[in-house]
């Protein structure tokens, strides 16, 4: 398996967490989102993913090359192809809650603070792009905190990491990049601590990726 990603892309990090939970070996192919005007815009990469985004997973099966973009689609595929250990849950109701939380981040926060949005805001408006991002992140994380108020923990849903945590932890990392105040989000900080006790969240961290050093 090959994962096209970027060390600081939160969607790439989600997939690295998923691969690490399932202990799947893969080759990491860095796509630098800023250098060369953004390598995701190259003709070669666009042919693989017309959305010009990372992550992108590639694998061979029955002599065919398969490619899959969109972190949530990739996570669902990994869960189906490698069911154990699961990052969902047994019961349909819990699976629903896990996906709801994952989507709260995936469609409710991340798209509003990604690089393409920041670049467009800076090019076409007088709005403070950092403030814009911080506002959406804070609003979403407050809703996440409320949504897990009745959960027992230590993770977002239950006693092992799920797809929801794979979305939450990278989003908390982004929150700090945008100076979002997190102190009152006590459940989220406790979930974060539980996750970072887990190897999958450590080895997948942006700072541990081969393209991190070269970018700083």
């Amino acid at each position: 398996m090959k994962l096209y990603g970027y060390w600081r892309s939160s969607s790439s990090w989600r997939v690295r967490i998923g691969l690490a939970i399932k202990e799947i070996d893969y080759t990491y192919v860095p796509i630098h989102l800023v250098d060369d005007g953004g390598q995701q815009h190259s003709e070669e990469y666009r042919a693989m993913n017309p959305m010009r985004q990372v992550p992108l997973l590639q694998w061979e099966e029955d002599g065919q090359v398969h490619r899959l973009a969109q972190s949530m689609a990739i996570l669902e595929y990994l869960e189906e192809a490698h069911p154990s250990p699961s990052f969902l849950a047994e019961s349909q109701a819990r699976r629903g809650r896990i996906r709801q939380l994952a989507e709260l981040v995936n469609s409710g926060i991340q798209p509003l603070q990604n690089l393409a949005v920041i670049q467009k805001l800076k090019a076409e408006s007088d709005i403070d792009a950092r403030r814009w991002c911080a506002d959406w992140i804070r609003r979403g994380l407050l809703a996440y905190e409320q949504s897990v108020a009745d959960e027992d923990g230590p993770f977002s849903v239950g006693d092992r990491p799920t797809m929801a945590d794979a979305c939450l932890i990278p989003q908390l990392y982004n929150a700090r990049r945008f100076d979002v105040e997190l102190a009152e989000l006590k459940r989220l900080l406790a979930i974060e601590e539980a996750c970072f006790d887990h190897r999958a969240f450590q080895v997948s961290h942006p700072d541990e990726q081969p393209d991190a050093a070269a970018s700083r």
Copy 2:
């Protein structure tokens, strides 16, 4: 089952399509996103969904009330709870492609053109909000068109409607609201035609909802 929704919300429409494909009866509870300053902001609704968004599905099971927000989480739940007829596919590779296309719309287009974003742009910037929405919709739909270039049709993936179509058709409706030029997106227009031959897309259409008439 109860579906809290809004006639013109594209995410609500996705779930109505899913329920109609599976021929599940439900009670529709309109949440007006504009009237009364937006009914999704009411204390009562926020307690059910802290993200203050529609759709929200509610059902009873084993004497317990269950609630699920986020259209993709709801669609996955419906597929698991009522597997037939499926709006996914048998093979993992095809399921992956369907989810990738659904997410292209769900996280790649819709969040950037929804009501909350338009309201924030209008309140805090001098940017043309309609143009902003149209740009993101066009960029995303062009990528969708490229992504299905090798599919045989008549639907996005294969010969029956899937989760991908449940996301695409409401997004095309939004595209027209924002005057996005669609003529060159020939595969998407053909998929749309195939979908509207299907009862599930007809009965779920915004204009057919009880809250449509009252809003005009």
